[in-house]
Symmetry: D2
Subunit: 346 residues, 4 copies
């Protein structure tokens, strides 16, 4: 099979670093360009920026330059802050590149949602919801991703929540479309930001809720649930950071009268083992631990019914940097290029 | 004011260690006996067992001996495994001692609940629910604790949950008595047990749910809510351990149509600042972090309404070893003896 | 005994926060002013800045104003960045205040050392080494501290190293004055700084050496060893950060032919139990753990001889925010004002 | 190239788990048997024991049975407690198997050292130092490993220390053969043992020295240094555990008068990039962090001279479970079988 020349824009953030780590092992990828902010005007060897990659990759980190990106690569991963990718994507697409965007800039179909959830007005609303654009929840949008020129890679919380409840919505097992999500994430999810609230001393032996019912991953979850089901979903969302670096688990509490068998069947139907290699559903009553998925591209889903209250508890765990970001992006890259879905991800 | 001679049985567990730390600063306490398991047949200086207490306390840790306990102390704290205190309490009470029991052995009024939740048959059912016995949720049972000879100190999860929702049940703000609790606890809550699942290497960078809807703190929560309200409460409970040593936070999701003001008023009425020195309720929308309470005897309560779903989110945080165990035990000791409620706890 | 009105300048750093925590419990202190950077132009309640202090202290954090400090307080703790205190101290002293400075600005007697180790030229060299100024290693300079108007509180590493080896230098047990220090510190030692290298995600599961043989605490260690002995000491210093928030341990490797008894005698002579309440020396072969001292004002010292190599290993452990900063500052405050040395520190 | 059938004995310890993780990715390995203690009398699927390996490996964990091992595999990795491998190895060798032993049972050539350092008398002293046995420090014993039927895989501390100083001893740069090692290890190094001193609550925010100058990895370090140089080395060793799960760094303080260039040359000569793919030596003054190597098979070595004291500081970092155990074992397996040295290790 052929080899694709690949560039990463945003190579110095946590998702960018994870993309490097994974793409180094990809049999069909040649990394050709690592771009970051203007601060890297003077190119610096990746081994200096990340000593862990010494001897494994001989490329400089350099300031982002669109022309350079387009010349160097056939496919581009964008791991940039929200609101930044938006301006770069059209040029890359016009230059015939395939783009996987890890930001939220192209996830929402309705441009009017951006001001409220992302605090910016979208610069290219004409691209939202277009045919060449796919929402990259790989397990649910294979056909669209195959044909896409641009994939909007889902948010880490959104991936975890959707992989946990979308099959239950599809099977119409959730009553009134109501559910609550109590989610806990590692701190890499907040990015490599010089922010005192993310210091080791602040977060060791701590837990902090933030953006309750205001997190920007909510609208993409609701959008996808609406697309997949007749119900109009109602979601409560309490994201929390805990003192781990990687890993995210969503505890989802959803109203249901379904039996364990009905729920297991819904998952089996959504994730046949031969076509969904990265979602592992457990038997009733076995909830995953974070450590079962950290460092992997798996999303582990467990569930337990609470008949007295009429609820199902779904625990959906993944590594926020892998299945929640760089890993799923590579999964989408594989689907786009016709490579085996798991190439470079085992 | 007088000084009380105090013994601790179970001095080598985490709650026992915290009792020592706090009682060392108590102005009206003289520690006279530290008892632990038969393993300590040969008394060993506390400074050898706990080097951190060197120079602060000159007492041996010794094997538990009922006669010795009774001779040495006027009041006894029992920080023993569930099922152990049960056998010791009657003799201590008959000897005229005041007892604060940190185990679950005397928390439930209905003896038939013990086999299901604690897996033992109660040896002294005649004591359960008696007049001289108080359930030691200090903020709600002051009068009973004042008169009690035996205080059943609440469980750590139970304290956190009850301080969060009892005022809302009392004010009849919770619809159908339904609520879910997604709780996260530090690992000291599991005790100083030689169990590989509690090793540093297993739990760093991990999160694990356990005993879903089967945790032994559930029946005391339900019992107290029933005593305080007309409703028959329905509770879902997902306890989880996270990689912190101390601290516990319960996220409580309860069905309500109340306004923020009504909820704030319910808390104000339950916790007047001059009579509930250790519960701090925050304004609507401000949820506590774990670090705000670790190492203190405070329980911090925050809440936020979700009008779309018709829920209130209550976050109730405390240190599981302090307000969730040793601190509340001392608070109860203070009330029993007529000392200022906060003596030794600031 | 009287009560002293006390101000803290630099109340929003980690040392400032620890000063608040400890001074709240001090029987002879009334906190009257919490000053910080210009960012706090609009005074903000301490409970908002530090929710953990809610209900315990009703004071605003406000922008530092010298006149306000002088009016509000009789004694001032300065917990400011290096190079900042220098400019404020003379005015405070002229206004008759007693000052405990936690920065390095007045620790070195030789002004020519500042440019090399601190990268600034000292603005008030006339104050260095003066009579009214004491180096606040409490255990060794009681008399000078009693008379001092200004105490230069030692650095955290310096305190740990000096309490470990100064007695051995005094007793002339170290050959050729040679020793190596391999020190490990918690991350609070680096301050509450918005620096990506201190993020939780960077430091969990990590260890990093820094400023090898270039750390600014070296010259004060050498200065004090020279003052106390005839030798000209030679020191190697490898400071390291480890993933803990508080606590510091120096492993000191010093050339000696002394016997365990001679070393124990040197420590006993330097730290008689009735006059050095906060240094605990262990028997030969028993090295302290970090957890034995965290949260306390103790410095625990252990030692073990290596006769084959002709070395003694000294392990000196303390809490960098307590005995290494705020606790020792209060110890010095107590000595200056004639209070019991341990007031507010148990 | 052919595929080798491989068994792991001791599959439920940390080194065994890491062997599984790595061998799953090895292009020339077929895992055929996972053996553990008698507790696994009833074979249990690996996915049940380690949910993280679900979908990746379909093998049971079963009780160790020598005949079964010999039938199932051509090569056997022994990841068993010290003193256990000793009894199994001769039968496996007689059955023609190749064996890589991760315990200390065959590391020392002098049987008289076992009682002192390992507290057992060696059952098969005739095997120690024989031709078919190699000490598996891959970078230094390639030829012997190629021919070996049994490889004694070095200890984690020993690997780190030897890779740091062996080149300097070979080049005769260390004076009087004297050096001190202040080493810090993650807690997985202590194994998956039900020991309260290894609990999360004991070790978070802690550091503990242990087995000072008595650790069992000392004699293998001394043995190898003597074999490689004329000097009789003198070593001081202070092993410490820090709150990380994986990773080990040895700070080595060695007497020298060498220049930076001479030291760099010694390393270049010992580790030519094309023949030592897993040792990365940094330029003078650049010491590695733990995170640069965790999860990899690299050993990163940095050094800095201290001319005043006449010392070189060598920092040698590796992942104790990878290069310090399972990774190096696979490196040795590769050399034994003529596979590329890095097969399965990138």
């Amino acid at each position: 099979m052929s080899t694709i020349r690949v560039a990463i824009a945003g190579a110095t953030g946590y998702a960018g670093e994870e993309l490097i780590r994974l793409l180094l092992q990809h049999p069909h990828v040649q990394l050709t360009c690592l771009a970051a902010s203007a601060k890297w005007e003077r190119p610096t060897s990746v081994a200096e920026v990340y000593p862990r990659f010494a001897r494994q990759l001989d490329l400089p980190v350099e300031a982002l330059d669109l022309g350079r990106l387009a010349r160097a690569a056939d496919a581009v991963f964008l791991a940039l802050p929200h609101g930044t990718a938006m301006a770069l994507v059209p040029s890359l697409l016009e230059a015939g590149k395939r783009v996987i965007d890890l930001s939220g800039d192209f996830r929402l179909r309705d441009p009017s949602l951006y001001p409220r959830w992302y605090r910016f007005t979208h610069a290219h609303p004409e691209w939202l919801g277009q045919d060449g654009l796919a929402y990259g929840l790989t397990e649910f949008h294979q056909e669209a991703i195959k044909k896409a020129r641009l994939v909007a890679n889902p948010g880490c919380y959104a991936t975890s929540i959707l992989l946990g409840v979308l099959p239950l919505f599809q099977a119409q097992l959730i009553e009134e479309g109501r559910f609550l999500v109590d989610a806990k994430s590692g701190l890499s999810g907040a990015g490599r930001k010089a922010d005192t609230s993310l210091l080791f001393t602040e977060m060791t032996e701590n837990l902090r809720a933030y953006k309750v019912n205001e997190h920007q991953h909510m609208p993409e979850v609701l959008q996808e649930l609406e697309r997949a089901s007749e119900t109009r979903p109602l979601m409560g969302f309490v994201p929390q950071v805990i003192p781990v670096s990687r890993g995210l688990i969503s505890m989802i509490y959803a109203k249901t009268r379904a039996t364990p068998d009905a729920i297991a069947a819904a998952y089996r139907s959504a994730y046949p083992e031969d076509r969904a290699p990265f979602v592992r559903v457990r038997p009733h009553g076995a909830l995953p631990e974070l450590r079962d998925v950290v460092g992997t591209n798996f999303c582990d889903v467990g569930f337990q019914l609470d008949p007295a209250l009429g609820y199902v508890i779904v625990a959906s765990a993944l590594d926020n940097l892998t299945k929640g970001a760089a890993g799923q992006a590579i999964q989408n890259f594989n689907v786009m290029h016709g490579f085996p879905e798991a190439a470079g991800l085992r």
